[in-house]
Structures are given as structure tokens and as C-alpha cells.
């Protein structure tokens, strides 16, 4: 009995191999497409910003005159915003993660909080903007100030920190906890002195990634009403402020009126991307350097 029709197989072989080769090329091209876009995007932005980024650009305040306009206000605004977002997300994110991983019993409540967090991660950022507008800006009557923007952003990036911290805490091996209990430590002492220090690199990585998300996010701040016009530099938590993405936004939509605004937007993008790149590099560095494998 003949199982394989050799002629048939040989006839089909050529086309099968050809398909294989074409498919491989196609898959490679698709992968390279994403990279091509990345290169073009960065090239375009850098080319448009050439000659526009200098010390004056970083140190000047906002101005309608493109030659004299700078992003000092936006940089200060970003720093002030981070001053609110960083501690709030750190406390809320790590606290939630410790509760879920160390204290919560496997059950309804724990599953509910977990599901809630993963759903929050999928809510569009603009909806968080509306929440911030309704509760912080109008409800608490704060206005579009640093504190209101910071709280809104903190809630937006909270799921990132919670998930990263949970993973970091889960990666701490059980025998470290048991050793700590064996020495007579209580549960909280064990968490404070053993679990958290061991999980710290992972937690920090998550926090930095969350902050870099907050630095690049635009939509929620547009919604809570960050003004397009010139405002004094922020000096406190209750001052009005602007940030780099907002500046990019306003300059981009106004570039139809004044051509140079497109260059200003591009220059701001370069600064923003550099900041994000540095932050992400630090995160990767922490992850590679301090993450101990147990």
C-alpha cells in the first residue's frame, strides 16, 4: 500500500516552499514597518526642531512671539505635577499591592478589587479627565491647579503601579518570609523589613514607568481646563500650571496660523522624548542592576 503519492508531493513542494519564503519576507517587512515609522517620526521631529532648542528655549517663558517663546513654565509645571503624582501613586499603589498580596484572603473582596483594577487600566484617559473635572476642579472647587491635575493623573496611573508592585511582591520567595517569622517577627515587621526591601527594585521600576506615562499624558489635563494662554510660573500646589504635552497640543493646532509654532511644538517634543527616554533608561537600569533572582 502506498501512503504518499510522491509525484503529488513533489509537484506541491515548490509552491509550498515559495509560500513559506514569501511569508517569511512579509512578516519581516511588517516588523520593519513599525521601526521605519519610528525612525521617520524621530527624524521629522528632530529635523523640525533643529535650531530651536537652546538654553533660551528651556529658560524662557511662554510668548506669542515664536522667537522668544520658551517652555520654562511647562517644565516647572511638569515638576510640580510629579511632586503630587509620585507620592500619591506610591502610597496608594504600593498600599493596595501589599493588601492584595499579603493580607487579603483569597475570596470575593480580593477578586473584586483585582478585577476593578484591571478594568480601571482600560478606561480611556479622557474619562479620568472628566472625573477630575467634576470632583477635584468643580466639586472641591480647586480650579485647574497643580493639586487637581496631580490627583487626576495619580488615579490614571494607579493601576500601573499596583500591578508592578504586586508582581514585585509576589516574586519575593516564601522562604524569606518564613525565615523572618522564624526569628519571631510579626507580619507587619516581616513586610516592612523583609518583603518591601526585596521588592523595592520592581516597585521603583513600576513607579518610574507610571510617572513617565503621566508626563506624556495630555487628554485628562486638556479636559480639566489647563489654559492655552500665558500664565505665571507655578509656585505652589494651588497655582495654575501647564505641562509640555499641553504646550505641544496648543502649538500644533495653532501652527496653521503661525508656521513657526510647528517648530516650537517639535522642539518641545524632542525635550519631552528625551525626558521620557532618560526615565525609562533609569527604570531598565534599576531592573537589571538591582533585581535579584532568588
Amino acid at each position: 500500500m502506498k501512503y504518499v503519492d510522491t509525484n503529488q508531493v513533489q509537484k506541491k513542494m515548490t509552491s509550498r516552499l515559495l509560500t513559506n519564503r514569501i511569508a517569511k519576507t512579509l512578516f519581516l517587512l511588517a516588523t520593519l514597518f513599525g521601526l521605519l515609522v519610528l525612525v521617520v517620526l524621530i527624524y521629522r521631529v528632530v529635523a523640525q526642531s533643529l535650531g530651536w532648542i537652546d538654553f533660551d528655549f528651556l529658560n524662557n517663558r511662554l510668548s506669542t512671539n515664536a522667537e522668544r517663546a520658551g517652555i520654562k513654565g511647562a517644565i516647572m509645571g511638569t515638576l510640580w505635577l510629579m511632586l503630587v503624582v509620585a507620592p500619591v501613586t506610591l502610597i496608594l499603589g504600593v498600599g493596595t499591592a501589599i493588601y492584595l498580596e499579603e493580607y487579603a484572603k483569597k475570596g470575593r473582596l480580593q477578586a473584586f478589587i483585582q478585577m476593578n483594577i484591571s478594568n480601571l487600566a482600560g478606561v480611556p484617559s479622557i474619562v479620568f479627565g472628566i472625573l477630575g473635572l467634576t470632583i477635584f476642579v468643580r466639586g472641591l472647587n480647586l480650579g485647574a491647579v497643580v493639586l487637581a491635575g496631580g490627583f487626576t493623573m495619580a488615579l490614571l496611573v494607579l493601576p500601573v503601579v499596583v500591578v508592578a508592585s504586586q508582581e514585585a511582591i509576589r516574586a519575593v520567595p516564601q522562604f524569606l518570609r518564613e525565615a523572618s517569622y522564624g526569628m519571631g517577627a510579626t507580619k507587619w515587621q516581616t513586610i516592612k523589613n523583609v518583603v518591601l526591601p526585596a521588592a523595592l527594585p520592581g516597585i521603583l521600576t513600576g513607579v518610574i514607568l507610571a510617572l513617565s506615562r503621566a508626563i506624556g499624558e495630555t487628554a485628562p489635563l486638556v479636559v480639566i481646563g489647563i489654559p492655552a494662554f500665558i500664565i505665571p510660573l507655578p509656585e505652589g500646589l494651588l497655582d495654575k500650571f501647564t505641562v509640555m504635552p499641553l504646550q505641544i497640543y496648543y502649538w500644533t493646532i495653532d501652527s496653521a496660523l503661525v508656521d513657526e509654532y510647528a517648530n516650537l511644538a517639535a522642539a518641545t517634543i524632542v525635550v519631552l522624548l528625551l525626558v521620557l527616554f532618560i526615565m525609562n533608561s533609569i527604570a531598565v537600569l534599576i531592573r537589571n542592576k538591582f533585581q535579584r533572582r532568588f
Partner: protein
């Protein structure tokens, strides 16, 4: 034995400087603060954990109350079947269909770009690329994923639209096509990395089995790996759609604010998200129908994305094949 002896020596030296009674007292005090903290910590942490739930409740409540107020003034039917959105002026009309079609069209264009390219990228990374190439390419994709959406908006407006105008001369300066394509590019890394995760978890034995039967690599990928990982792949598509629906800055910048009910992709169209930006930027007086319409649109957006996310979770849980 030596260890025990030296320990005893240490203790005796300690008790020379500190009376036993004092030591007991000190110990008691520290134990009591520790036990108070011990009882308090879980409660504090639970309170913190509940804030995330409060956030969800806050979102739903704010959206719901103002949406209900909106539907007191505009009927449910008018909102969801009205093809005219004219929020200002004497005879204001609030039909959400222009916004809804714009959102669906831009998301559809985005997925037409993101699904094939994202999936092919995932296949390449998971099945074809050598370990070295993958180590080089994956961080690049992560960079693409980490670029803020405002930058993509700038890119769509100042580069992609002028480029497309050369191909389609009738293209308007703001249109739905260009942001749709750029959104697709933005979503590629997400589809690629989630699909790749799904494909990587297909056990090698299945690939080897197919290869042993004489399949080519493409046949193994297409007939074995992709079907085995289909739940994760489809979930990545659904999450991509949800991301496209909620995307704001790209469409706000590059598609303008034309509230027309049309299917012409060369025209300016306003999506739901762009409408929210426009209305909040214009400082709608609280209590006006315009102000409430903001929440009705946001509610629609929220429900859409929530349903998408739940579907994605359901798919990846229900149809996951265990190996």
C-alpha cells in the same frame, strides 16, 4: 558549643549595663506598640485598596448623574438616532450618531492597519526571529509603544496628512483617514506584544509534531501555532479596538471638529473623545444642556470601552487552551 558559650557571655555583659526589670519593661512597651501597629496596618491598607474601588464608583456616579440630567432634556431616542449634532444656538440638536460614526470609522481604519501588521510582527518575533534579532527588535517596539499620543497627533497632522494629500488630492487638511492610520501604528506594538505572548506560550512539542509531519515553517505557524493561540490573539485585537475608541489627542489634532454624519473618510469628522475635548475647552456653563451632553457622550464612550475590555477578558479566560 563554643557558639553557645560566647552567646552567654554577650548576654551577661548586656545585663551588667541594664537591669533585668528594665529590660522586661522595655520589651513590653515595644511589644505593645508593635501589636497596635500589627492590628492597624491591615485596616489602613484595606482603606487604601478601597480607593481604587472608590475611583470606579466615582467615575460611574459622576457620569450617571449628569447623564440622567441630560436625558431629562433630550430624549434617549433623539440622542441615539439623531444624525444632527448642533450643540449651540437656538435650535440645538443632540444626535450622537455623527460622533459615533466618526469613532467607529477611525477605529476601523486603525484596526485595518494594526491587525495585519501587528499580527505579522508577532508571528515574526515569536516564530522566525533568532534570539539575537528578537532582543534587538522588542525594545524598539517598546519605544514605539511608549511615545506619547500627543506626539503621534503632531506626526499625523504635520507629516501623514501632507503625505496622503499627495496621493489623494481631495483630502481635507483635517480628515479622519490620517489619524486613523496613525492610531493604527500606535496600536501595532500592543497587538504585537500581546499576540506574541500568546504564541510563545504554545508548547514546542506541537510545533515539532507538525514539522515532523513535513510541514513548512509557514504551515506550522498558520495551521498550528495561530489556531492554538487564537484566544490571546483575538483578545489583543479587542483590546486594540478599545484603545482606538478611547484615543483622544490624535483625532482631536488631526481630524478637526466637523460634526457631520458622513462616511467620507477624506473629510473632517469629530469623534466622541474630540467632542469632549472641544466642549470642556470651551468652558460650557455648568447646568446647560451642552454641559450635560459632555457626560452623555463620555458615558457612551465609557460603556463602549468597558464592554470591549470585558469581552477581551472573557475571551482570554474562556477560550484559553491549557497545555
Amino acid at each position: 558549643m563554643k557558639g553557645v558559650l560566647s552567646l552567654e557571655k554577650d548576654v551577661s555583659r548586656e545585663s551588667n549595663t541594664l537591669s533585668v526589670r528594665e529590660m522586661i519593661e522595655k520589651n513590653k512597651r515595644s511589644v505593645s506598640t508593635a501589636s497596635v501597629l500589627e492590628g492597624l496596618m491591615p485596616k489602613i491598607l484595606l482603606t487604601i485598596a478601597i480607593i481604587s474601588i472608590l475611583t470606579t464608583i466615582g467615575i460611574v456616579l459622576t457620569l450617571l448623574t449628569e447623564t440622567i440630567a441630560f436625558f431629562r432634556e433630550v430624549s434617549f431616542v433623539e440622542f441615539f438616532t439623531g444624525t444632527v449634532l448642533k450643540p449651540l444656538g437656538e435650535s440645538a440638536q443632540f444626535g450622537v450618531l455623527p460622533l459615533l460614526t466618526a469613532t467607529i470609522i477611525s477605529s476601523a481604519i486603525a484596526m485595518l492597519v494594526a491587525i495585519p501588521i501587528g499580527l505579522m510582527t508577532a508571528v515574526y518575533l515569536s516564530e522566525y526571529a533568532s534570539e539575537r534579532v528578537r532582543k534587538l527588535l522588542k525594545p524598539m517596539l517598546e519605544i514605539l509603544a511608549g511615545i506619547p499620543t500627543i506626539v503621534y497627533g503632531f506626526f499625523a497632522f504635520t507629516f501623514v496628512t501632507p503625505l496622503l494629500t499627495k496621493l489623494i488630492p481631495t483630502l481635507e487638511p483635517t480628515n479622519i483617514l490620517s489619524p486613523g492610520i496613525v492610531m493604527g501604528i500606535m496600536i501595532i506594538p500592543m497587538v504585537a506584544s500581546l499576540s506574541e505572548d500568546a504564541m510563545s506560550s504554545v508548547p514546542n512539542a506541537m510545533r515539532e509534531g507538525a514539522l515532523g509531519l513535513g510541514s513548512t515553517k509557514f504551515e506550522v505557524t498558520w495551521k498550528v501555532v495561530v489556531p492554538a493561540a487564537i484566544s490571546g490573539i483575538v483578545a489583543s485585537f479587542v483590546l486594540g479596538i478599545s484603545r482606538a475608541i478611547g484615543e483622544t489627542m490624535i483625532v482631536t489634532i488631526a481630524s478637526g471638529s466637523n460634526k457631520v454624519f458622513t462616511f467620507d473618510i477624506t473629510q473632517s469628522m469629530q469623534t466622541m473623545t474630540a467632542y469632549i475635548v472641544e466642549v470642556t475647552g470651551g468652558d460650557a456653563p455648568a447646568g446647560s444642556t451642552l454641559y450635560y451632553s459632555l457626560y452623555a457622550v463620555a458615558m457612551t464612550l465609557f460603556v463602549f470601552t468597558l464592554v470591549m475590555n470585558l469581552i477581551a477578558q472573557y475571551i482570554s479566560r474562556k477560550f484559553r487552551e491549557e497545555y
